[in-house]
C-alpha cells in the first residue's frame, strides 16, 4: 500500500476498536494525543509472541529464549532504522517517554549538573518534561529556567540565546506540544543550542504518529518517545541517545541484565544499551512497537502527514464556524491537536455532553499547567487527531458542540 493514495476507510478497517457504538452512537475517537488505538497488526504481534515465543531474553539456552531474544533485539534494530539512529546501542527500551526523561535527568543530570548550573526547558512542556528537571534541580542545587511562549502558542525563540548561558547544562524541549499541537523547529533549536555547547533532549511523544523523525538529521543528543502514542502498546517507550553521550553516563537503575559480573565487592556494568535496561524488559511491548512501525511504513508516513494536515485544516475551519468558540491551537506549524474553549462553558461540561454523543475528547489541563496558565485558563477541550480520523469525525464533534450550546443556552 506504500505509495498508494491514502485510503482512510482502509486504515479504519485495520483498527477493530473503532467499529463499536458507545452510548448508542458510533464511537468518534478524538483522544489520540492521550493514547492512540492499535491496528490489528500490533494486536496480532502481541498474541503471536505470547502464543508461540514467550521466554525471558538474554538468558536461556533453549529455543524459546533464543526466539524471544531474537524478536526483542530485532525490534531494537527496527526502531533504530525507523528513527535513523546510527547504532542499535543508542536505542534504550524504557516504560515510556516519562521514564526516558527521568532516566536522562537522574543519570546524565546527576552526573553533569551541579550547584549553580542551569537546565532550560520551555513553557509548553508536558509535566513529564518539567517535574523530572525540578526534582534534579532540587537534588543538585541547580536552577530550572523556562523559555516562554507567545500568544499564538509558538516558542519565543528570539529569547533562546539569552537563556542559554555558560551555566546551561541541558535544554529539554518538546517536538510537538500535547496541549496545543505546536510543532517546534527542533532542528534549528538543536543547532543553536549546540553552538552554545548545550546538549538537547527532545520529547517526541506527540511526533511519531504524525511525521517522520530522523534523529541524525535533528542532531539532538536525546530523543524520548512512547509506544502507545504511535499505535503501539502501553508500557514500552524508547530513549534514543547519542552513543558518545550515553557512554559517559552512569547506570540509573540496578538489577539483572544491566551487569556483566556481580560480587559482594564490585559490579561490572554491561555495555550499551543493556547498561540502562535493568530487569526483564517489556519484551512483547518492544515487539508490538516494532509492529506499529511496520504498520506506519506500510500506510506510508508521508501520506499520513498529508492526511493529518488536511484534517487539521478542515477541523480548524469547522471549529471557527461554531459561535463563541475560542481556538487555542494557532501556532505557525501544527500537528494533530485542536485545543479550544466554549464561551461560558467549562471544558468538563463540554466533555460530558460530547461523551453522550459518542465523541471522546479530553477536557482538562492536559498535564501542561504552565502552558495553560500562559493563556489564563485552567482547562481546555482537546480534540486530537490520528490517521484513522475523518471529516465525519470532525462533523460529529461540531454537532456535539451545537448540543453544548443548546444545553447551556
Amino acid at each position: 500500500m506504500s505509495g498508494a493514495p491514502f485510503d482512510v476507510a482502509r486504515v479504519r478497517a485495520d483498527f477493530p476498536i473503532l467499529h463499536q457504538e458507545v452510548r448508542g452512537r458510533p464511537l468518534v475517537y478524538l483522544d489520540s494525543a492521550a493514547t492512540t488505538q492499535k491496528p490489528q497488526a500490533v494486536i496480532d504481534a502481541l498474541v503471536r509472541y505470547y502464543t508461540h515465543d514467550n521466554a525471558n531474553v538474554h538468558r536461556g539456552v533453549h529455543a524459546l529464549s533464543e526466539r524471544s531474544t531474537q524478536a526483542y533485539e530485532g525490534a531494537r534494530e527496527r526502531i533504530r532504522e525507523f528513527i535513523n539512529a546510527r547504532d542499535t546501542k543508542e536505542i534504550i527500551f524504557v516504560r515510556g517517554c516519562t521514564e526516558a526523561i527521568n532516566l536522562v535527568a537522574q543519570s546524565f543530570g546527576r552526573s553533569k549538573v551541579g550547584p549553580g548550573d542551569e537546565v532550560l526547558i520551555t513553557a509548553m512542556e508536558h509535566h513529564s518534561d518539567i517535574v523530572p528537571w525540578q526534582m534534579l534541580c532540587q537534588q543538585v542545587g541547580a536552577t530550572l529556567k523556562m523559555l516562554p511562549v507567545d500568544e499564538r502558542g509558538d516558542l519565543r525563540l528570539e529569547q533562546l540565546e539569552a537563556n542559554l548561558t555558560e551555566r546551561t547544562r541541558l535544554l529539554a524541549v518538546t517536538h510537538v506540544s500535547n496541549a496545543l499541537g505546536t510543532v517546534n523547529p527542533v532542528r534549528d533549536i538543536v543547532k543553536r543550542a549546540h553552538a552554545k555547547g548545550v546538549p538537547v533532549l527532545v520529547d517526541g511523544a506527540q511526533a511519531l504518529a504524525h511525521f517522520r523523525v530522523d534523529v541524525q538529521d535533528l542532531d539532538c543528543d536525546f530523543y524520548a518517545f512512547s509506544g502507545h502514542k504511535m499505535f503501539g502498546p502501553t508500557g514500552i517507550g524508547v530513549l534514543y541517545g547519542k552513543a558518545s553521550v550515553l557512554e559517559s553516563m552512569p547506570p540509573w537503575q540496578g538489577g539483572g541484565d544491566m551487569i556483566l559480573t556481580v560480587t559482594m565487592e564490585k559490579t561490572v556494568y554491561n555495555r550499551l544499551p543493556y547498561r540502562f535496561e535493568a530487569g526483564t524488559p517489556d519484551i512483547s511491548g518492544a515487539i508490538g512497537l516494532a509492529a506499529a512501525m511496520d504498520y506506519l511504513d506500510t500506510v506510508g508516513l508521508d501520506a499520513i502527514s498529508a492526511h493529518d494536515q488536511e484534517l487539521l485544516e478542515y477541523g480548524t475551519r469547522a471549529l471557527e464556524g461554531v459561535p463563541g468558540l475560542r481556538l487555542f491551537s494557532r501556532a505557525r506549524e501544527r500537528s494533530g491537536v485542536l485545543s479550544f474553549l466554549m464561551e461560558d462553558v467549562h471544558a468538563h461540561d463540554v466533555g460530558t455532553i460530547l461523551d453522550r454523543e459518542g465523541v471522546a475528547i479530553r477536557a482538562g489541563h492536559h498535564c501542561a499547567q504552565p502552558l495553560l496558565s500562559c493563556f489564563g485558563v485552567a482547562a481546555t477541550v482537546r480534540a486530537s487527531l490520528a490517521m484513522y480520523n475523518t471529516h465525519e469525525d470532525i462533523d460529529a464533534l461540531v454537532r456535539g458542540l451545537h448540543k453544548v450550546r443548546e444545553v447551556f443556552a
Binding site: 452510548r23 461560558d344 462553558v345 467549562h346 471544558a347 468538563h348 461540561d349 460530558t352 455532553i353 453522550r356 477536557a363 482538562g364 489541563h365 499547567q369 495553560l372 485552567a378 482547562a379 448540543k403 443548546e406 444545553v407 447551556f408
Partner: protein, 150 residues
C-alpha cells in the same frame, strides 16, 4: 438530549452554575480551605465565619465547571446556620447521593441539593460535585492546607 444528561444539567444546576450564590470571600472569616481537583486543575476556596460551633456565614470563590459551581453554590445556601455536626451529616448525604443515587436517602433532608442526584450516572463528575464539600469539611476541621479530590 438524553434523559441522564437532562438529569445532570437540571435547570437549577445550570442556573446556580451560571450565577452562583455566595460567590465571595466571607467578611471576617475565621476558617478557610482550598479544594483542588488535580484531574482538571479546578480550584476553589471556601471561607467560613463560625460562631462557636455554628456556621454563621459561608462563601466560595474560584473556578470550576457547572457541576462544581452549582454544588458549591447550593452548599453555601444549605449549610448556613448549621452546626458543624449537621453540616458534616449533610455532606455524608450528598456524598451518598452522588455516589450511589437517591434510593433510600432522606430526600427531605437534602432539600434543594436533591438536584445533584443526576451526577450519579456520571462517575467522572462525582469529584466535581464533591469538591466544595471536601473544602468545607477541611475548613470545619480547621485545616489550613489545600484538600484534593484525589
Amino acid at each position: 438530549m438524553s434523559s441522564d444528561l437532562q438529569d445532570l444539567y437540571q435547570e437549577v444546576v445550570l442556573e446556580h452554575g451560571k450565577r452562583p450564590r455566595n460567590f465571595r470571600e466571607v467578611e471576617g472569616a475565621n476558617r478557610r480551605a482550598d479544594g483542588y481537583n488535580p484531574l482538571c486543575g479546578d480550584q476553589l476556596t471556601v471561607t467560613l465565619r463560625m460562631d462557636g460551633d455554628v456556621i454563621k456565614d459561608v462563601g466560595f470563590v474560584g473556578q470550576g465547571c457547572a457541576i462544581s459551581r452549582a454544588s458549591a453554590s447550593l452548599m453555601t445556601g444549605a449549610v448556613k446556620e448549621l452546626s458543624r455536626a449537621d453540616a458534616e451529616r449533610l455532606f455524608e448525604l450528598v456524598h451518598k447521593l452522588v455516589m450511589e443515587g437517591p434510593e433510600g436517602l432522606d430526600m427531605e433532608a437534602l432539600g434543594k441539593l436533591a438536584v445533584l442526584s443526576g451526577v450519579n450516572a456520571f462517575p467522572a463528575r462525582v469529584k466535581c460535585a464533591s469538591l466544595a464539600w471536601h473544602a468545607l469539611r477541611a475548613a470545619l476541621e480547621g485545616k489550613e492546607s489545600s484538600v484534593s479530590t484525589e
